[in-house]
């Protein structure tokens, strides 16, 4: 009973400040769009399908970007903080899907890990799927902000998972809190804490080493939680749909093509068409080896199939297509949920 009472007391003590911090969000009745990291999902179909665009810069101080626009088609907005007057890091690019209409929209800039409460300059770009659009950006400004929203943003950044890309096991960019790398913030705090413990415990080594160890373990617990989350989500995706993350449904494409190979005596020869990273093409080449899979986007007299990835432009025959199909398409074999299409070719 005593234990339960103590837990209840702690909970009540914590509940009041937490509720106070959440108050600014609760009173904000307007719908707020939360940007997502562009590289976290495959946006190549959006980019490949865009027919008109506009871009520019916006500068200001605050956690919210207010946008007044009017468009008859949905707009894809991209936003990235500038690292100097002319450059931004593509890894910092975030995406927001805006619906058709003429309502003002609020965009939560604190979702950007490089957001900080000071003055910031952002690159902003709008893409539209319509070749002739009446889209009009009437007003764009950065506003809002108080100590509560800054603390909320810091907490959110602390627990925002490290982005995971299968093609990026060379290095990790790391979490940032209010634009500052967590490794630096945590490292400084660790040094201060250890120094305090060392002096306080009369220069004994064991307590100082223990404080170092605990800091390291707490920091690495954050990363391990990312790994645990990925273990769950990727396994669930794989076991339920036979696909996951960046590879999407390419394993299904490869399985179908392997089956097609079993039905014929002549070895298949496949060309992959794409207009972005060659990761997907290389994955297909591995999965289908020893079948010849060309990733240089050219077809020859032996090519039997073409796999058109979602990033590739248009359908065969159109002027802006990525690969030259040489009018040899016999039939569309299959269109996959990701938008990947497999075509069978006539013999040259």
């Amino acid at each position: 009973m005593r234990y339960t009472a103590r837990v209840s007391r702690i909970f009540l003590r914590l509940a009041v400040p937490v509720a106070f911090l959440l108050l600014p969000l609760a009173v904000s009745a307007q719908e707020i769009y939360v940007p997502r990291l562009a590289l976290d999902s495959d946006l190549s179909p959006v980019i490949a399908g865009s027919l008109s665009s506009a871009d520019g810069f916006v500068e200001g101080k605050g956690p919210l970007l207010r946008l007044t626009y009017a468009s008859v088609v949905p707009l894809h907005m991209f936003i990235a903080p500038m690292i100097n007057a002319t450059d931004y890091n593509p890894g910092d690019m975030y995406a927001v899907d805006l619906p058709a209409g003429s309502e003002p929209a609020e965009i939560d800039l604190t979702a950007l890990t490089k957001w900080s409460p000071g003055m910031k300059r952002y690159y902003v770009s709008f893409l539209s799927g319509g070749s002739e659009t009446d889209a009009e950006i009437q007003n764009i400004e950065i506003h809002g902000g108080n100590i509560g929203s800054t603390i909320m943003a810091a907490g959110r950044h602390l627990f925002q998972p490290e982005p995971y890309w299968v093609s990026n096991v060379h290095f990790l960019r790391g979490r940032r809190v209010l634009g500052v790398p967590l490794a630096v913030v945590g490292g400084m705090l660790t040094i201060v804490l250890t120094a305090v413990v060392f002096v306080w415990k009369k220069k004994r080594l064991a307590p100082a080493l223990l404080s170092l160890l605990l800091c390291a373990l707490v920091s690495q617990l954050l990363m391990a939680t990312d790994a645990g989350r990925l273990a769950f989500t990727h396994t669930k995706e794989w076991l339920t749909g036979g696909t996951f993350a960046q590879p999407q449904d390419l394993y299904l494409v490869a399985a179908d093509l392997e089956e097609a190979q079993q039905d014929v005596d002549v070895p298949l020869s496949i060309t992959v068409c794409f207009d972005a990273s060659d990761y997907e093409a290389k994955l297909l080449r591995y999965l289908l080896a020893p079948v010849n899979v060309s990733i240089n986007q050219t077809i020859n007299e032996k090519t039997s199939h073409i796999v058109v990835l979602p990033s590739a432009k248009r359908d065969p025959g159109e002027e802006t297509e990525t690969c030259d199909f040489q009018d040899r398409v016999e039939r569309l074999e299959k269109t996959y949920p990701s938008g990947t299409r497999v075509y069978a070719l006539r013999h040259a």
Binding site: V166, V169, A206, L212, L213, C215, L217, G228, A245
Partner: protein
């Protein structure tokens, strides 16, 4: 059927590695031998692959089974001839922490971290198929092509997507051998054996620390290493870096054990593990085998007779020399990057290097923790702290030497390009980070909570 073939090869490899390790350790500590069995068998398997390639035999199931059964038979004969106690005599344990409540907290934290990392590693290497970019080109792809060709692929052009003929092939040979007997390439078997190799290596690292110091040391060591953020992602498998790090870590701990037990057996196993580092990746020759040899001389000179020390060092090289011989006969160099040794000044890359060490996400704040720990150990040494083992502390030289070599390579050679584009600098930093963690942990032998 694939599963049965996989289990059969796994049994052969484990038996071979277990008996060979027990022969070298004179039947000391059967649990340690069991955890070292797969890392040992992987080195023996790579050596076999080199020999088969040298005599131009095909990598067929028949050839491989004959070679492995012969090795198994010879090892078994040696095993029965070697006398030993067969019983591990424990040293007096020196717990990392003497304060009970912190001990429980640390144990819980380590367990929660490890559980998630193991789940991530298992799901991404055994359940989910190959997906990492370099696996699709230089690593698992080369294994698959070699399996199909029935000979190691030494492609010099990108025609088939693999143009790294100089890559050492411990990784490839292990993936290929568990597929022998299958009609087609089994991706899951190929990745599962690498997962088991890492699992064995980490179990051996934990057990070695437990044997040399305490179970707490083992748990903390394995957790700190496995949860280095970049390391955890590499435990998906598909790159050689992770195995290079594992072999270097094993050879360091076995070397410390060889010094403390005055055991030639431990030195020999340590040497094979150092050779394993060189078989895992090209840089393993320098940061593994050569630095291991230098550290062995530093630690064991005067402890082990010079002649025996020399022979032990030579024995380690015998487990690797097949590789340069093969490369020479193929007309290939030892590194895929011809620019590795050309001196070019890139001091402008130092800030980027420091940022990679202290500010990026690959290591979180681990390097800061290592740096502060190192300072504290130096203060302790100056005050003649009884909880610091000076000999084990001396092994930080290995980690520091690797760190300096990496910094030199990326700021004073054309490899600066790979720091600029972020390709390999932080991956290579995993090696000194792990070596320093282990050296500092092994050096901490408190008798009380001082």
């Amino acid at each position: 059927m694939s599963m049965l073939i996989f289990l059969l090869w796994l049994a052969i490899l484990l038996a071979e590695g277990w008996m060979f390790t027990r022969v070298l350790l004179r039947r000391d500590d059967r649990w340690l031998c069991l955890t070292l069995a797969l890392p040992m068998a992987a080195v023996l398997n790579a050596v076999l692959f080199a020999k088969i390639t040298l005599v131009s035999l095909p990598l067929s199931p028949l050839v491989l089974i004959i070679y492995h059964l012969t090795t198994l038979a010879v090892t078994a004969v040696l095993f029965w001839k070697v006398r030993g106690t067969g019983v591990y005599v424990p040293q007096e344990p020196t717990p990392f922490l003497s304060v009970g409540r912190f001990r429980a907290l640390v144990t819980v934290l380590c367990s929660v971290i490890l559980l998630q990392i193991v789940a991530f590693s298992f799901t991404h290497s055994v359940i989910i198929p190959t997906h990492q970019i370099d696996s699709l080109t230089n690593w698992t792809m080369r294994s698959k092509i070699s399996f199909i060709d029935q000979e190691l692929a030494f492609d010099k052009t990108e025609e088939r997507g693999i143009a790294k003929p100089q890559y050492p092939f411990l990784f490839h040979s292990l993936q290929i051998v568990v597929n022998e007997g299958n009609e087609t390439w089994n991706d899951r078997a190929a990745n599962a054996i690498l997962f088991l190799l890492s699992l064995s290596a980490f179990a051996a690292i934990g057990l070695l620390l437990a044997r040399l110091r305490s179970w707490q040391h083992g748990l903390i060591g394995v957790t700190l290493i496995a949860s280095i953020p970049l390391m955890a992602y590499h435990l998906e498998h598909g790159y050689g870096d992770i195995h290079l790090v594992e072999y270097a870590a094993l050879s360091l701990l076995l070397l410390i054990g060889a010094r403390e037990r005055r055991s030639v057996g431990w030195l020999l196993v340590s040497g094979v593990m150092a050779a394993g580092a060189a078989w895992s990746k090209s840089e393993g020759l320098f940061v593994g085998l050569i630095f291991w040899m230098m550290m062995s001389v530093v630690l064991l000179r005067g402890i082990v007779p010079a002649k025996i020390l020399g022979l032990s060092l030579a024995a380690a090289w015998l487990f690797w020399l097949q590789f340069p011989t093969l490369m020479y006969l193929k007309g290939l160099g030892l590194t895929p990057h011809g620019s590795d040794t050309a001196l070019e000044m890139h001091f402008d890359m130092l800030p980027a290097a420091l940022q990679g060490i202290f500010a990026a996400g690959s290591f979180g704040m681990l390097w800061t923790v290592l740096f502060v720990s190192f300072i504290l150990f130096l203060i302790g040494l100056k005050k003649k702290h009884p909880g610091i083992d000076r000999v084990s502390f001396a092994t930080v030289l290995w980690g520091i030497a690797v760190l300096l070599l990496i910094l030199f390579t990326y700021t004073m050679t054309a490899n600066a390009e790979f720091l600029r584009n972020g390709q390999s600098f932080q991956r290579q930093l995993m090696i000194p980070a792990v070596l320093l963690i282990l050296s500092l942990l092994a050096a901490w032998k408190p008798r009380s909570g001082r």
